[in-house]
């Protein structure tokens, strides 16, 4: 059996709570996972599910109560192994007295690159994440989205084999999100393993070979996005405009909601074409037709309801 990119075995994290710190709050409950080399792996879950805890455990920022993990066959306690990984923390914050160029140069030094190599990489990755124009601006003047881009650049600057991204799309505008998606796909093409946590189901669908769903610190399942998250189309949403003096035809008028000159209706997938024909016959201009799917939040709520689990941290046990 080939060595996995990431192997997690029974990883558990309890935090002491209360004044005497005798009660324990379980943030992660015996998580076991295996991510293969070259996979893009999505780690899904609502807030407080234990996603960030898992990533912090893997980065040895916190220490497990129980369990172990290996990356490319080497223990996470092996510091030299960390040369092969990249990490973007959630809502990253960097030394704001440095410029983006200086920060990347600083991180590149930890990988042992010489001056010329550092300069080449820094320039290349600043361009890749779209902040070359602001390369010499101090980070204290950066917006959240720009910091996120710097964060992605520092995570991949040393061309690691396994990249961990904690909510990489957070704080980005639609263009930025598309660019990050492109970066992740590019990393996949280069054969790198990407492990990222997200709330955004469409990102997971679009990018991931496999996903894992975590709720209340417990793994609910792993598999291909379509398998693990049953995301059936609930309805079709149609936006349209009517010509001056015309009204929405027949039964559709009752369900249409108007905003300015625009109308919106939701129809079943089976009745979509009939509704579109009726609208066209009445002279309507169709603006958009979009499938309506449950949001990730709704999906998690369903899951929580089904499993009877708390959506976020979770079990309280006495020491």
């Amino acid at each position: 059996m080939a060595t996995a990119a990431i192997e997690i075995e029974n990883l558990t994290k309890d935090y002491p709570t209360g004044f005497w710190r005798k009660r324990m709050r379980r943030s992660l409950d015996h998580l076991s996972l295996r991510v293969e080399e070259g996979e893009v792996f999505g780690f899904l879950g609502p807030n407080g599910a234990g996603k960030t805890t898992t990533l912090k455990l893997l980065m040895r920022l916190i220490f497990p109560t129980e369990g172990t993990a290996r990356i490319r066959g080497r223990s996470i306690d092996d510091v030299s192994m960390h040369a092969e990984i990249g990490y973007l923390p959630e809502q990253p914050y960097f030394y704001d007295h440095l410029t983006a160029r200086e920060l990347l140069d600083y991180y590149a030094r930890f990988s042992g690159f010489g001056r010329a190599e550092r300069k080449r990489r820094v320039t290349r990755y600043l361009e890749l994440v779209g902040i070359a124009a602001a390369a010499d601006v101090q980070l204290r003047k950066f917006s959240k989205g720009m910091l996120q881009r710097v964060g992605i650049a520092q995570a991949i600057l040393h061309e690691p084999k396994v990249i961990f991204l904690d909510e990489p799309m957070s704080g980005l505008d639609p263009i930025g999100r598309r660019e990050v998606r492109d970066v992740i796909l590019d990393l996949k093409r280069q054969g790198r393993t990407v492990f990222f946590s997200t709330h955004i189901l469409s990102d997971a669908e679009m990018l991931c070979d496999r996903v894992a769903v975590l709720v209340g610190g417990k793994l609910q399942g792993t598999g291909a996005p379509g398998e693990i998250v049953a995301i059936d189309v609930q309805a079709m949403e149609v936006f349209f405009e009517m010509p001056d003096g015309s009204s929405v035809p027949g039964a559709l008028a009752q369900q249409a909601t108007q905003t300015g000159a625009r109308y919106r209706i939701e129809v079943g997938e089976a009745g979509l074409y009939a509704s579109l024909d009726r609208l066209r016959d009445a002279g309507a201009r169709i603006l958009s037709v979009t499938p309506v799917r449950p949001t990730l939040e709704e999906y998690f709520l369903q899951l929580v309801g089904r499993e009877g689990a708390a959506p976020h941290a979770v079990e309280v046990v006495t020491r």
Binding site: M59, R60, I62, M81, L98, F110
Partner: protein, 259 residues
């Protein structure tokens, strides 16, 4: 040898410079200029004594304020702002990070003290006499101040690993003040009849750093020679004590779960 602490140290120094920490030099420069002009007019024969006492005291106090107030935030700020997350995910050991932060602040203090030493030399020159061999004692006093600052920084860094800057400041200053009076505390214990108090003051005497031995300002003012043995003793003492404190800090920080 690992280059990681060096990389962290340079960044710590750069951060201090860009946060305008060295602006205190302007204050020091103005004070020395004012003092030099003033003593030149009012004091006859004791110009040197006044300038050296004033200059060395200012170097010591400014250095102490910097060591405590920057030192207590060195690790805490990194944890609070989470700037060390992406750093510790790299092949950097926690003790290397800690050593780098410590070395960075020491470098800042060294540069700051060097500029203040130049300011003191200029003021001494201005008050009108050539440098004499006895002035070298002032350099020894400055060296002792640097050793003292290295100790204070290590203590502040230690507290910074597990408590807030406010508490760390209180703890560090408490250790510093106790350290200045360590000898008096031991003598006080010896005067009492209680074996418990005697034992307690003796333990305290050996536990806290003895800062009293690092004060050579009065000797410098009067141009007295500082014994070479004391220089060696203080150097060794500061290195061993700071190393022990840093190892303790590393043990605490090495096991710490970051928020």
């Amino acid at each position: 040898m690992s280059v990681m602490p060096g990389v962290v140290a340079i960044n710590t120094f750069r951060e201090a410079v860009r946060d305008r920490v060295l602006y205190n030099l302007v204050f020091f420069g103005l004070m020395m200029m004012g003092a030099a002009i003033l003593v030149g007019q009012v004091s006859i024969g004791i110009n040197r004594l006044v300038i050296i006492n004033l200059g060395l005291s200012a170097i010591s106090v400014i250095g102490l304020v910097m060591a405590v107030f920057i030192g207590v935030g060195l690790i805490y700020r990194e944890m609070e702002k989470r700037t060390l997350y992406s750093l510790l995910a790299r092949p950097v050991r926690r003790w290397e990070f800690l050593a780098g932060k410590y070395a960075g602040l020491l470098l800042t203090l060294l540069v700051n003290t060097s500029f203040m030493t130049i300011g003191l030399a200029v003021a001494l020159y201005y008050v009108g006499r050539p440098f004499v061999r006895a002035d070298l004692t002032a350099l020894v006093a400055i060296y002792f101040i640097l050793l003292e600052l290295a100790l204070v920084t290590a203590i502040a860094l230690f507290f910074s690993c597990f408590s807030s800057p406010m508490l760390s400041t209180l703890f560090t200053l408490a250790v510093y003040v106790t350290g200045i009076f360590a000898g008096d505390i031991r003598d006080f214990g010896a005067l009492t009849k209680s074996p418990a108090v005697q034992a307690f003051t003796r333990v305290l005497y050996y536990l806290v750093p003895n800062f009293h031995n690092f004060n050579a300002i009065a000797a410098a003012g009067h141009g007295e020679r500082v014994p070479l043995a004391l220089i060696w003793q203080n150097t060794l003492y500061a290195i061993v004590y700071a190393s022990v404190v840093l190892v303790a800090a590393s043990a605490v920080f090495g096991r710490r779960n970051l928020k």
